[in-house]
């Protein structure tokens, strides 16, 4: 219960929750960019569905942040009024949609992560986070069924789809390492039983991702490069551009109802 938390814990849970909202809104935005651009109409619908799940998830996290902050900042403040240096999403979420293989490979890597992450978050001592995780994990199971199936189709489909899928795996791989980092805040939240110890997810994630990539006859890359910094607000160039677009109408006339 928010009312039982001391000020310090409340602040920490707030920051932790905002990060989860950032992850969801950023990837939701990226997937939504496919709507009307997909390879066929059924995929326009399916990708929109997945995007809607993430936008809904962002609203749940930011809605909880609104309650925790209790200072008049609303869900749209968190989404629309913070700059990219304040956003703390994982970098993998902000990478551009790329081609369909890039989107689907990123989705696989993120879905497997979300699956194991949410399985833990369900047991959070924070009831709200646990409840959000309970709803989100059902969606994530569906997302993973889709991204798993698509990576198989691409890896085992044609020469071209295999080349594109492999290139996507190679180009995204370096952004997966930070999924399993833990900074001070995350350590504190994990210790308190509120958050998840991401380090503990790495083994399961690697095993699952490797088995799917092998099933798709794709090569698992070497861990030779690692890019990190999302949780500190140190982003790729893509996020600033994405947020400029996303926030432009809201910021042109700030403080209004839409």
């Amino acid at each position: 219960m928010v009312s039982d938390m001391n000020e310090e814990t409340k602040q920490a849970v707030l920051n932790y929750t905002i990060r989860l909202g950032d992850d969801a809104v950023v990837i939701g935005h990226r997937i939504a960019e496919w709507c009307r651009n997909a390879p066929f109409l059924e995929e326009d619908l399916a990708l929109s569905n997945v995007a809607l799940d993430f936008i809904g998830r962002a609203r749940m996290f930011y809605g909880y942040a609104e309650e925790l902050a209790d200072d008049g900042r609303k869900e749209d403040y968190f989404a629309y009024m913070r700059d990219h240096r304040e956003y703390q999403n994982l970098l993998i979420m902000e990478l551009p949609r790329g081609d369909f293989a890039y989107t689907m490979v990123r989705q696989l890597l993120v879905d497997v992560f979300n699956l194991y992450y949410l399985e833990q978050l369900i047991s959070s001592t924070d009831e709200t986070l646990a409840a959000i995780a309970g709803k989100a994990i059902k969606e994530t199971r569906y997302h993973l069924r889709r991204s798993h199936e698509w990576v198989l189709r691409l890896g085992l489909g044609t020469d071209e789809s295999k080349i594109r899928a492999q290139k996507a795996v190679d180009d995204i791989w370096g952004f997966t390492h930070e999924l399993f980092d833990l900074d001070e805040l995350e350590q504190q939240m994990a210790d308190a039983g509120i958050g998840v110890d991401n380090r503990s997810l790495q083994q399961d994630w690697s095993a699952k991702v490797k088995s799917i990539l092998e099933e798709a006859s794709l090569i698992v890359p070497e861990d030779s490069w690692k890019v990190k910094g999302g949780r500190e607000g140190y982003h790729t160039e893509y996020l600033g551009q994405m947020l400029n677009e996303m926030q432009c109408v809201h910021r042109a006339n700030p403080g209004l109802e839409w």
Binding site: R36, D44, I55, D76, F100
Partner: protein, 311 residues
């Protein structure tokens, strides 16, 4: 002789309000007319994803972003039902898409207008979906069974969209001066084109006579347009916006509004290619389709391999 009997039987059914189903005999012209109308309707839903989709990345609140995305997704869903409906008449989706891309099939000309501001998302939901519903409610009674049934389903979703669009306009109209001006500008730009959605005057309409006889169409362009004008006037008033038609006047005797003349030159100009987005809309469809070719090939190849493995 046999042909004449069938013709007569067919018309009797129509006259008796019995729906025509895919396996029933039907005149070739009826089938062609339906394919033209239903595929045009499907293409309109699909091309209509573009102008509204233009604002998904810029929607000014997360709630609006979700509503808009879900709306554009619904339009795509309507496109899917309608393609399937047209397929019951013996044409494939691929043939229909080719016809859209080579320009031989049309889509609603309203989507050749650009969406310039966020308010356009509201105006399209309210006016464009609103005009579409007036037409589609009437089409729920169309003589071809599958088309009639898809209209029932589509109408439910469209009226939801219309309410959401109107609610967006209401929020802007009650907001800041800048928001209100944005709403007014959008109404000014979309009002007349929505009236044009009902097509030319009855006297000028190429397909009206046979469509009415076969009950593909149940009400004329002008009658439907009048309904829309009458329902929209009080909605504009409630928003507190200026009505774009300066000649609009209530006619007590007729129990309906008299209105100013539509700019038919503009109507024909835009239909015939001089809208701001005619080329862009079709080109976008072609590009997305082309870019997706390797994905569709991969999917087909994967299915093929799976099948031969199983065999």
């Amino acid at each position: 002789m046999v042909e004449i009997d069938q013709q007569q039987k067919f018309q009797n059914k129509i006259d008796a309000e019995i729906k025509i189903e895919p396996k029933d005999w039907m005149p070739e012209a009826y089938r062609k007319n339906l394919i033209r109308q239903i595929s045009q309707h499907a293409h309109s839903e699909v091309i209509g994803m573009q102008p509204e989709g233009n604002w998904i990345t810029r929607a000014p609140s997360l709630r609006r972003k979700a509503i808009l995305l879900a709306k554009v997704q619904d339009e795509g869903g309507h496109g899917l039902y309608l393609y399937s409906t047209a397929e019951t008449l013996g044409i494939t989706r691929e043939e229909m898409i080719n016809a859209l891309q080579d320009g031989s099939a049309r889509y609603a000309s309203i989507f050749n207008y650009p969406t310039q501001t966020w308010a356009d998302v509201g105006a399209i939901g309210w006016l464009v979906d609103g005009a579409a519903i007036v037409n589609q409610i009437s089409l729920q009674r169309t003589s071809y069974g599958p088309y009639s049934r898809s209209m029932v389903r589509i109408c439910k979703e469209e009226s939801f969209h219309q309410r959401q669009g109107y609610e967006l306009m209401l929020t802007l109209s009650r907001g800041s001066e800048a928001q209100k001006a944005m709403a007014q500008d959008s109404l000014n730009r979309f009002y007349w084109p929505s009236l044009m959605m009902f097509g030319p005057h009855d006297t000028e309409s190429a397909h009206s006579a046979s469509s009415m006889k076969w009950k593909v169409k149940r009400e004329t362009n002008d009658d439907l347009r009048q309904k829309f004008i009458d329902q929209t006037a009080p909605q504009i008033e409630f928003l507190g916006l200026q009505h774009p038609d300066k000649d609009l006047k209530w006619n007590d005797e007729k129990g309906q509004f008299d209105s100013g003349e539509i700019n038919w030159d503009e109507f024909w100009r835009v239909i015939n290619g001089d809208g701001h987005c005619n080329r862009q809309r079709v080109q976008h469809h072609i590009n997305a389709h082309k870019e997706g070719a390797w994905v569709r090939e991969a999917m087909a190849s994967y299915q093929q391999k799976k099948k031969s493995k199983a065999a």
